[in-house]
Symmetry: C2
Subunit: 572 residues, 2 copies
């Protein structure tokens, strides 16, 4: 199924049925509810949308305005959209495709609000697909990409559903309207960790696709003269081109490995949670939020770098790159806006820092926060040693977390409320959290290339790629490493010259490194990134299929241009 | 005309007739040729394209493959596309609209190639718009944006045109085939300077539009709780939102002022050139290449920052931001690919550096290169003083130019060919050239706010904006300032805290600053950026007009979904 959806690309009306509607039933319905709906969903006897986001609220779920008010006299919930901004907005497939939706609404019972809960609502007739009474539906209009998916809106005018349509695996409302608290809300966190892990994987895949296209095309495209009179070189010979593409290629590998880590950790945490051990969840949740934010942001920018590296042709849909960019751009604001996600990570780090100050020894992905020395000793560091590079990233992150936390403490000591201090330090906090995530990605990359079971020749190439990734990060963020003297200007020069050397070293393996992603032409959908390299012939064939080329003289000529030109000529 | 084209947005088939075809006649045709074609073009009795770029060559014009071979026996040129990659590719309006084109082709006469020259070629019949014999035309297919413009392809199979159709204001071919050199090629440079100046202005306008949309929407949108129990604040109150938008807003002003400088300098240089004084041209040409590259790159990224700052709604075409991004993205690769442009600037800077080493005193925009001290003295700098900030940017640029040039010299001394040394230092060279352009933009911004004729209260706001722009640049590129100790970690902390203060100071004037761009709703074409702030009502109205909403049940239901669901239900 995943492969089929992938081949279709960009998403269609039924995509969210599979990746959101059905899993919601699996995860939030009782066994009895599953018997009723899960098979219907799995066999696509009904088709569903996941209706959470509203016109006025996205990431801030507590702010949702749709209400589900329990009426004990009929044992029904009344689903209602009290304001314009409460209109459900954006859910994929909601506009035209879905006949059911899980609707997130503020639960009211016995006069009290218990916050957002999920309800199963039929929205269209199973007979004729007309909207159900009280339900207003529509498509929200064209978007940057993913226009094969009818992202939709829905308004509910006091729509009544049976009490049993509340998804009650966790919280429940009894027949008399009594609200029964869920035993633990931690499981919801675990699902979120999983979902964000899939974003990391999507980012990795998108960046892998873009680098495959750009690296392959850069071996086909020849341009300019490197030396007078010599033939035009493949553009991948230019250092500037390598500097654009290889860090993206390395990041694609780094993000794959980060997504492996997330998958493996989620599995192990789920196992522990089933045994009642919730200890690792908060750490993994914080990491997943930051990783989702970091990897999607780097990926979207990276794809655009790849597009520009393909010159004008990158701008054509023939390249596949505008669609990849549009897809990755959506990842940055969907399912938790990236800035809000990174602030979640920051919040956890500030808490860890305070614990560390209070003498607690930190473990796992944040262990380094208490291990790093506040006053570093500068020295001649070996900037090609992976251990040195990892340590530098950890030092940077620890310093920035400390700096942001201390700044916040300082403002509170001067009398600012905690919330105001948080807001006025939030740029520092975001940067500290990014540095933390970045250091995790570097460390995980380094550990993976050291331990992954591959030929030693492959390990050598991956090690170069990991060095390249790390050195690029250091030179791009040199200020963070120089600021407290941990690295010196000489270290940065050394990093910069090692990086140049790594660009040259990766060059001969670049095509093999993208081929290893094993992305079939049918998945890439790119004339520039074709495996066989026959770019120009197929660019011509692709263009000939343009809708405008169906006739030699386009209809607009007869309608507009001919009379316009004629009247202009008559005036001469 | 410009205003009309602007209102249409994105470009249509006739756009390039106005901004490229007609100006080419104006600039490159003889008086006799102008008599023949200019009025036809100006009155749109003919409609033209500017056919330069080919499938296989863009920015590297010398590499073009289309040939124009002179045949003295008939006094004709033979226009030919000898290879697939010589197919003209991308020219706006070429595919379906134009009936004439200025075709850039390698001029061959008497067995010798004289490089690319421009030729007027009729490509479609004036009677029935059919392609002329030997001419193959078509649209190149859908692109990231600007799909209202039929960017096209053209192939020529030995198409004969009269000798008089070579645009001969500069170079000429006489009846017997004698090639007559142009008196000076400098005028072509002057046109390029002008054209690149228009790119700077386009970048400024695009960034102004995006910031207008995002700042206005950020005052309408309310989200989350800053303090428990308080109403949701306008999202512009969040420091993270200010940090996203205000540097873009400041950059929009900085780029307007840079484009004023370019316009004014181009005017003054043109005056000098008419008197035979070519002295300022090389400097202005180098600056224009770098400014085109820098401003378009920052603008494209900045628009995407604005899009993400509008959350999910930024992704909808209702926001206008995807179209603005697509337009700005095109500016980065069109009319001289940005990396190649920046390397042109670098080449000039390296030359200046060598001249300065040889004792020449540099003037104008590069004067600071010889004035800056190699070994700076660190001290407690006043990081809120504009003069200090400008000096810091100039020091950074001078250091980086010197570093790149010395690195190159070092490699050549070790035996590398100049071209190889150039390539292996090209990343350093690009960064140095960017630093030079950045320092120019900062200095020009600072000088403009000090001298522009405005109320002192307006000057105060602009000064804050200029400080914000400069401080943001320093914190984002802190490594460049810290590396040789010119700024200290303490200076960076001071810059960072002044920047926070500036974000808060600009906040109350933010809406006035975008309103001052005076972009009418008809130009912005954005539901989110509406002047009246009635975003949500109009978002709903806009969505209702989606083509998918023409019928309550979409035709795809009857065609695909109904039978699919039915057969799935039958299997249950």
């Amino acid at each position: 199924m995943a492969a089929a959806l992938q081949t279709l690309g960009g998403g269609i009306g039924i995509t969210l049925h599979w990746i959101a509607f059905t899993p919601t039933i699996e995860q939030q319905a009782t066994e009895e509810q599953k018997k009723k709906w899960l098979k219907l969903a799995q066999d696509v006897a009904i088709v569903g949308a996941y209706a959470q986001t509203e016109m006025g609220h996205g990431t801030f779920v507590r702010g949702l305005e749709t209400t589900a008010t329990y009426d004990p006299s009929t044992q029904e919930f009344v689903i209602n959209s009290p304001t314009l901004t409460s209109t459900k907005w954006w859910p994929g497939g909601l506009g035209k495709t879905a006949n059911h939706a899980t609707v997130m609404a503020q639960l009211y019972t016995r006069g009290k609000c218990y916050g957002p809960h999920n309800f199963m609502v039929q929205i269209r007739s199973l007979e004729n697909h007309q909207p159900c009474p009280g339900v207003t539906l529509g498509d929200i209009g064209p978007k940057m990409e993913s226009n094969g998916n009818d992202n939709g809106f829905a308004r509910f005018d006091h729509v009544r559903i049976p009490r049993e349509n509340m998804l009650m695996k966790f919280a429940r409302v009894e027949a008399d309207g009594t609200y029964v608290q869920p035993p633990s809300s931690k499981l919801a966190y675990s699902n979120m960790v999983y979902l964000r892990g899939t974003f990391v994987m999507s980012a990795a895949q998108a960046l892998a696709s873009a680098t495959t296209i750009a690296v392959r095309y850069s071996c086909v495209r020849r341009q300019s003269e490197m030396k007078p009179g010599e033939p035009e070189p493949q553009i991948l010979e230019y250092q500037t081109q390598q500097y654009k593409l290889f860090p993206q290629l390395a990041a694609a590998y780094a993000f794959w490995f980060a997504s492996w880590f997330m998958t493996q950790q989620h599995g192990s945490i789920t196992g522990s949670m089933e045994k009642g051990d919730m200890s690792g969840l908060a750490e993994l949740h914080a990491l997943s939020a930051g990783l989702k934010s970091y990897t999607t942001a780097v990926t979207a920018r990276g794809i655009d770098v790849c597009r520009m590296a393909c010159g004008g042709h990158g701008y054509s849909h023939a390249s596949g790159l505008p669609a990849l960019f549009g897809g990755a751009a959506a990842l940055c604001t969907a399912e938790g806006e990236n800035t809000v996600m990174m602030l979640q990570t920051a919040r956890y780090l500030v808490k860890c820092f305070a614990q560390s100050q209070a003498g607690k020894r930190l473990t796992g992905t944040v262990a380094y926060l208490s291990a790093v020395q506040p006053s570093p000793v500068a020295g001649n560091r070996n900037m090609s040693d992976l251990g040195t590079l990892v340590a530098a990233f950890q030092h940077r992150a620890a310093r920035m977390v400390r700096h942001a936390a201390m700044q916040m403490q300082g403002e509170m000591q001067k009398g600012k409320a905690r919330e105001d201090a948080w807001n006025s330090c939030s740029v520092l906090l975001i940067k500290a959290a990014e540095a933390h995530v970045h250091s995790f990605v570097v460390r995980n990359f380094a550990e993976t290339v050291q331990t992954v079971e591959v030929d030693e020749s492959v390990r050598a190439v991956l090690t170069s790629l990991c060095q390249l990734y790390s050195l690029y990060g250091i030179t791009e963020h040199a200020g963070d490493f120089l600021k407290d003297g941990y690295l010196t200007g000489r270290d940065i020069d050394a990093a910069s010259s090692h990086l140049s050397a790594m660009l040259a070293r990766v060059r001969p393996d670049a095509v093999a490194l993208v081929d290893a992603f094993d992305l079939h032409d049918k998945i890439l959908r790119s004339v520039l990134g074709r495996y066989d390299g026959r770019v120009y012939e197929h660019l011509y064939e692709w263009a000939k299929k343009s809708p405008l080329n169906k006739s030699e003289v386009h209809e607009s000529y007869y309608k507009y241009l001919q009379p316009f030109l004629k009247s202009n000529r008559a005036k001469l």
